[in-house]
């Protein structure tokens, strides 16, 4: 009971925060929501892997880079619309995720944190450098008409493309929740996340669940990559900052709280947009995430210590 009261309080605060920002500067709110839902969308698969496998995937952002490049290749070679590349890119990413899981992560799932962090760190480096070898460091751009479309409410006009992230984030979130609650495999996944040993005893194929979750998580990044391509210039390290940002959101929402990630993402996205909007201080915006990440981790640790 008290938990739901607390959740409600946080939800009310969240809505009040959005309304205040919306009254102060609607553009900032719009920008922040679009940005924030993109962050949340990227953070969802990381949180899924962290929750079920217990592995913090430091290569997360670099899988996103690979997805962006794959989407770009399809766009430039066979002239596919970036949004249409979503389907083939997602399939390739699922296979890539599964392959990398079987080759590396599989062996460290049951080991200590040190090895898990180091191995995903190594994978991250291989992905970045692999991208550099294949596509060099030259930045690339995609031009589509719809990426810069806009709409207006009253006197304000907003870029509308970014709303696709909000749509995608909600779809992915609802899809994941339905999968975890309604399907048999989803329930098995849930059980593995809660207690791998127990799940193994009752006959769940834990190894398959791990493989499945990791592949799906990387696959979701394929969807995100195709969606991001029209708006972002791509270069080999484009995805790397997202690993840390995604972890910031996962830590802020709390482990296993997938819905919370969307709220955390939008809050931080709006926070970043606010800093961005202050003239002369826009380049400090990056610090919002890292600052919040450090504060959240520290407050958690102090609360546990008490």
């Amino acid at each position: 009971m008290s938990l739901s009261l607390k959740t409600n309080k946080i939800l009310l605060l969240f809505i009040a925060f959005l309304i205040i920002v919306g009254i102060w500067q609607p553009n900032v709110l719009m920008d922040g929501v679009q940005r924030g839902s993109m962050y949340a969308l990227i953070a969802l698969p990381l949180a899924l892997v962290l929750g079920i496998l217990g592995v913090l995937n430091l290569a997360h952002g670099d899988f996103l880079t690979v997805a962006l490049y794959l989407s770009y290749v399809l766009y430039s070679n066979i002239n596919m619309d970036p949004l249409l590349t979503m389907i083939p890119v997602t399939i390739i990413m699922i296979l890539l995720g599964g392959g990398i899981y079987l080759l590396t992560v599989k062996y460290v799932v049951d080991e200590g944190h040190l090895n898990q962090l180091l191995i995903t760190f190594g994978v991250s480096m291989i992905l970045i450098e692999g991208v550099k070898i294949i596509w060099t460091t030259q930045p690339r751009n995609v031009f589509t008409g719809y990426a810069y479309s806009s709409f207006s409410i009253g006197n304000y006009s907003f870029g509308s493309y970014g709303l696709i992230y909000l749509l995608m984030a909600v779809v992915v979130l609802v899809g994941l929740q339905l999968f975890l609650k309604k399907t048999r495999l989803g329930q098995a996944t849930f059980a593995v996340g809660q207690n791998p040993k127990g799940a193994r005893i009752v006959g769940i194929n834990v190894n398959f669940v791990y493989l499945f979750v990791f592949s799906i998580a990387v696959g979701i990044l394929g969807i995100v990559g195709a969606g991001m391509l029209p708006q972002h210039a791509i270069f080999p390290s484009v995805g790397s900052p997202f690993s840390l940002k995604s972890f910031a959101l996962a830590a802020m929402a709390g482990l296993g709280n997938l819905n919370g990630i969307l709220f955390a993402g939008i809050t931080l996205g709006v926070g970043e947009a606010i800093v961005n909007a202050i003239p002369g201080y826009s380049s400090w915006a990056d610090i919002v995430f890292f600052g919040v990440l450090i504060i959240v981790i520290l407050t958690r640790s102090f609360r546990e210590a008490r």
Binding site: H113, I119, G122, I126, E129, F247, S283, D286, I297, S301
Partner: protein
């Protein structure tokens, strides 16, 4: 006895090395020493069981501080190395009070996030020159590569000495017991936090001094290249390859990887660092002890067998 001779011979080689080789090779070995020292400092923190991703951050802090005191206050460059180290150590001391309460992934991630925070701060303050960084009028020793080599050799030897001191003195009992089981360590009366803080401050100060020396060698600091993750990734790969929790491991690893990567840089302009990624993965999966220890064991086994043969023939 034998081991002491080996150390003396290696030291002599390191000392007379610049007399026989050109400035390119001197430069390569200088860079190897820089990464060797970083690698050792990372390993020293790891010996307490804490995986730090903050190496690049404190490296950058030292580099910035040293360049700033030389440029703005006109202090002696060699003295500025100490200032760089001192600054990184002081920052680490204050951050340590909060950061060292964290464990495992939370400690690792927070130190990585701190590196990014340092980067953003350096990018945005006017005193640090903003995004374009600061440039000195001239490098330390006017860029004389032999003198720079001896300076960095000296610093590296000091770091090796500190690492050995930590291995041999009483401190290592505390450090090892914290790594193996923190609760047991605490209940045997070890002040866990005190030792963690001590190691954290010392390793950060080492990273600061090395960063300062590196910045003085190239006479510039620039946010994205000074706080580059290379100063984190390469030392980790080196320590892993050589073998963690030891002094000799990172030394062996630094030489192997440093020279391989220099060679690869020549034949592969893009993405030669992929080798580091592959090496980290392969080492974690297949040789968790690194190269040095298994090699040493093999060699010493052979020696024992050789002795036995010699005795039996007598």
């Amino acid at each position: 006895m034998n081991k002491n001779y080996l150390i003396l011979i290696l030291l002599a080689i390191a000392l007379i090395f610049p007399l026989f080789f050109g400035s390119y090779f001197i430069h390569v070995i200088t860079t190897v020493f820089v990464f060797l020292a970083l690698s050792l400092s990372w390993d020293m923190m790891l010996r307490t069981g804490q995986l730090s991703f903050g190496t690049a951050g404190f490296f950058g802090l030292g580099a910035y501080m040293s360049v700033m005191v030389v440029l703005k206050l006109g202090w002696n460059p060699i003295f500025s190395l100490l200032i760089g180290g001192l600054f990184a150590g002081i920052i680490a001391f204050f951050l340590g009070f909060v950061v060292l309460r964290l464990r495992e992934i939370y400690f690792a991630i927070t130190t990585l996030a701190l590196t990014h925070v340092f980067l953003v701060i350096a990018e945005n303050l006017s005193v640090t020159g903003g995004a374009s960084g600061l440039t000195l009028n001239r490098a330390i020793f006017n860029g004389n590569s032999v003198k720079i080599y001896y300076l960095i050799l000296f610093l590296t030897l000091v770091v090796i000495g500190i690492s050995e001191y930590f291995k041999r003195s009483k401190i290592h009992f505390a450090i090892n017991s914290i790594r193996n089981d923190e609760i047991t360590a605490k209940s045997s009366g070890i002040n866990v936090f005190k030792y963690l803080l001590l190691v954290f401050v010392i390793t950060s100060a080492i990273q600061g001094v090395i960063g300062a020396a590196y910045a003085q060698q190239y006479a510039f600091v620039e946010p994205s290249s000074t706080f580059s993750l290379n100063f984190l990734l390469l030392p980790i790969a080196m320590a892993l390859v050589g073998g963690i929790y030891s002094t000799n491991g990172p030394i062996v690893g630094a030489f192997i990887l440093g020279i391989i990567s220099e060679y690869l840089k020549l034949i592969m302009p893009y993405g030669h660092l992929i080798v580091y990624g592959l090496i980290i993965v392969v080492v974690v999966l297949f040789m968790p002890q690194g190269i040095y220890k298994p090699l040493k064991n093999k060699l010493s086994n052979k020696n024992i067998r050789g002795d036995a043969n010699a005795q039996s023939s007598n």
